[in-house]
Symmetry: C2
Subunit: 153 residues, 2 copies
């Protein structure tokens, strides 16, 4: 298969992950320190964002939990906070009495859009000067491929 010793393959994978991880840290650092997240912590925004991207407008809590790096209980309480602020609504899932469907309220949708506009600008200011459009497309492709593969296994 490989023309290289196994240790090199392992090493390359480790270095790749390390670089991906550090770049994520560096970018996230900048993003979360921006003024866009004074009103709402990044993790809470991320839930609003995820809901806003969802075609049906509703997601199960466990679906959301797959997207964010939070334990199930932490997500449950994060949603408590969002609900208390009137940004989201919990509904019992119609097909499964155990499940909870989450949806944005009007206020939640508005806040997501407001923060989102600024957030997207911040992202562009960090990413665009760093990588060409082609490089961004390639990075997008590679990370998506990685994510999809990891999600399966």
């Amino acid at each position: 298969m490989s023309s290289q010793p196994a240790s090199s393959a392992v090493r390359l994978a480790a270095e790749t992950w390390e670089s991906l991880f550090r770049s994520q840290v560096a970018v996230m650092r900048k993003l979360q320190s921006g003024p866009a997240f004074k009103e709402l912590p990044v993790k809470e925004y991320d839930v609003l964002f995820t809901l806003s991207r969802c075609p049906s407008g509703q997601l199960r809590l466990n679906e959301i939990n797959d997207k964010v790096l939070l334990s199930q209980s932490s997500l449950s309480r994060l949603v408590d906070r969002l609900e208390k602020r009137g940004l989201v609504e919990r509904t019992t899932a119609p097909d499964d009495g155990r499940g909870v469907l989450l949806s944005l309220t009007e206020a939640g949708s508005e806040l997501q859009k407001t923060i989102g506009r600024e957030h997207v600008r911040d992202i562009a200011h960090l990413v665009a000067p760093a990588l060409t459009a082609d490089e961004q497309r390639e990075l997008l492709r590679l990370t998506e491929k990685l994510r999809a593969s990891v999600a399966e296994h």
Copy 2:
């Protein structure tokens, strides 16, 4: 400059970041649930790892803080915990009385190596099946380029 409308450039940057972020979440999820991190939380391991990679064997707290996604105070207390477990040592920086140099103890070095071996295997099991060696090298290059650019600005 660009042959595309500005909104497309912004959109591409945002999608690229989103994909990078989600892939990081997916991989980290798997990694931190592995048995390697029963003994020591990932963030604490990361500090040991960072120290182990450092040529001088010593790093200032603020240097470490650049690498991890933690507030200054959280890192300070994380180091408290590591110190209490005898895994690291604090020393006053010789050239700057305010600074603290952190170094691994023998026990800390041992634990880092033990966890590290397993951790690296776990990484390889996730990354190697997902991307070819060339793709990994490209992902490494792009994320490093992104990190370096973000670190400057």
